[in-house]
Symmetry: C2
């Protein structure tokens, strides 16, 4: 029901843009790759993703969390401990990203 994206539907474009904006930000794919190998903590991510600033990492994680792509788990301990992991929506996203990758890697084939 109405999850078809037709020429006349403005709304679906907006939805699509939102989705692309989330996964299209710089670092997002790298973050997802890191998390795909398992739960990670903030400092771990920061270390793996050499060059990312804490601000950017924080922003990206916040967005990913808001979009239910990753799950943030806070342990009320001292020192503070926070873990990030894939949510189920993140898992289903992986397949799409894989398709998109294949699309991009596809040879231009018989042109000209």
């Amino acid at each position: 029901m109405s999850n078809q994206c037709e020429s006349s539907n403005e709304n679906c474009i907006g939805q699509l843009e939102k989705s692309i904006a989330v996964i299209g930000s710089k670092w997002t794919l790298l973050i997802l790759r890191e998390l795909s190998s398992g739960t990670k903590r903030f400092a771990q991510l920061q270390k793996s993703l050499k060059g990312i600033s804490p601000k950017t990492l924080s922003l990206r994680l916040k967005e990913l969390e808001k979009n239910k792509i990753v799950i943030k788990k806070i342990y009320p301990e001292v020192p503070p401990r926070v873990e990030y992991s894939f949510a189920s929506r993140g898992e289903s996203l992986k397949k799409i990203l894989h398709d998109l990758y294949e699309w991009g890697a596809e040879p231009p084939d018989g042109e000209k």
Copy 2:
């Protein structure tokens, strides 16, 4: 062969980023929607996409053309006439965008 995007492969991320950058730019999706209903000329697109500047439209079309998503056909006439239409890569992209749309529209459902 090697079109699997694994944790250890840096290269595939770059490819993915490139693809997302192309389709993720503002207006790109709108342009693709316009073209999905058939071949269009520059002025037609500019008129349909109310608010787009010729510069932006030109840039986006150039990128889409470079990535073989749309085809540019120039008629050596006076006044000049240029037509844009979907390439085959554009067609296969449509399916992926549809999947992505469905992913984005997917309800957060039973999490927790």
